[in-house]
């Protein structure tokens, strides 16, 4: 079994994606990180091409690179992130170990190496690490069906989205979600007019003054009799 062109492309794509992702999570320069994030997104689009899913490759380029990357780059430029920043917080070491452990666990579950330990009786692990062929995860055996994707898969997908018996309801819900989210994002990020901000500040100041006055009268209450006595004495 020789090495095919697709396998070479896959390995190159994997190196690009994982390398770019590692750069994104370790760099001090967030702007370069955002550009590398776009590269990682592009690599994932390449994987979709290898899966014969041109539609999702195009969607990945349009949504992730065209929209999300641009949003992130603009946010980096609008905030202070472009200068060198402290790249990691205090818990980074522990988190790195945790992430590595997670990767090893997933690789053991999904990878080609089967665990030969007998784990029957161990609650979670016995369902994850099974040695049967074909592979079983949980109770569902994987039945491979590697036939070619139907040539009409895009129109089938479109019909399934608007079919009342398939995905019409989730489709409408997700459309509603996008509407609400766009309105919410505009509302949250809106630059308020100076007059509005001024009015709000005055309101807060008035409230604080009222609070302080209330506090003073509350403190002053026990002292009241003495002042009253003083005024009486004055008379």
């Amino acid at each position: 079994m020789g090495i095919t062109v697709q396998q070479v492309i896959f390995v190159c794509l994997a190196a690009i994606v994982l390398g770019a992702a590692l750069f994104v999570v370790t760099t001090r320069n967030l702007f370069r990180g955002a550009l590398m994030l776009a590269l990682a997104f592009l690599g994932v689009a390449g994987f979709y091409v290898l899966l014969d899913l041109g539609l999702f490759a195009v969607a990945q380029v349009m949504i992730y690179i065209g929209a999300i990357s641009i949003l992130i780059i603009f946010s980096v430029m609008l905030t202070c992130g472009m200068q060198a920043m402290i790249p990691r917080n205090a818990q980074a070491g522990g988190v790195a170990i945790l992430a590595a452990l997670l990767f090893v666990l997933l690789a053991l579950v999904f990878g080609p190496v089967r665990l030969t330990l007998d784990l029957t009786g161990v609650p979670l692990l016995s369902t994850l690490f099974r040695t049967e062929t074909p592979r079983v995860v949980g109770d569902v055996p994987w039945r491979y069906n590697t036939q070619a994707v139907a040539e009409t898969y895009i129109s089938d997908f479109g019909r399934a989205l608007v079919d009342i018996n398939q995905f019409l309801l989730p489709f409408l819900l997700i459309a509603f979600l996008v509407d609400v989210v766009l309105a919410g994002a505009i509302l949250i990020a809106r630059q308020r007019k100076p007059a509005e901000v001024l009015a709000e500040q005055q309101e807060i100041a008035a409230e604080e003054a009222a609070e302080a006055a209330a506090l003073r009268t509350a403190e002053g209450a026990p002292a009241m009799p003495s002042t009253a006595a003083a005024t009486v004495a004055d008379h």
């Binding site: 896959f10 994030l37 979709y48 990691r88 945790l98 999904f110 990878g111 995905f167 996008v178 630059q191």
Partner: protein, 110 residues
Amino acid sequence: MPTPNVINGIPLWWYLLVASGLFAIGLYGVLARKNAIAMLMGVELMLNSVNLNLLAFWRYLNPTSAAGMAFAAFVFVVAAAEAAVGLALIISVYRTLHSIDPEKLDQLKL
């Protein structure tokens, strides 16, 4: 033993392994960064790996139904929505605090 379960010469576990690595890197990015935008970048990496996983499983195990594609498309939409709201919040926070260090966002703490 040559396995017949390959598409374009690539077995399924290659995709799963790459997606696992991408997810682990994204997790590290979310938990270990000191900048809210960098954390969002980690979330995007994780969402990408999940989507790759979903589509690879769909392609290798059940390419005749539209369910896998619908799931992946919904993940795309939710990722875009999450990025829009997250970045709007970050810009709003930056405007009030002049910092996007998540450790300084303790205004609700007494």
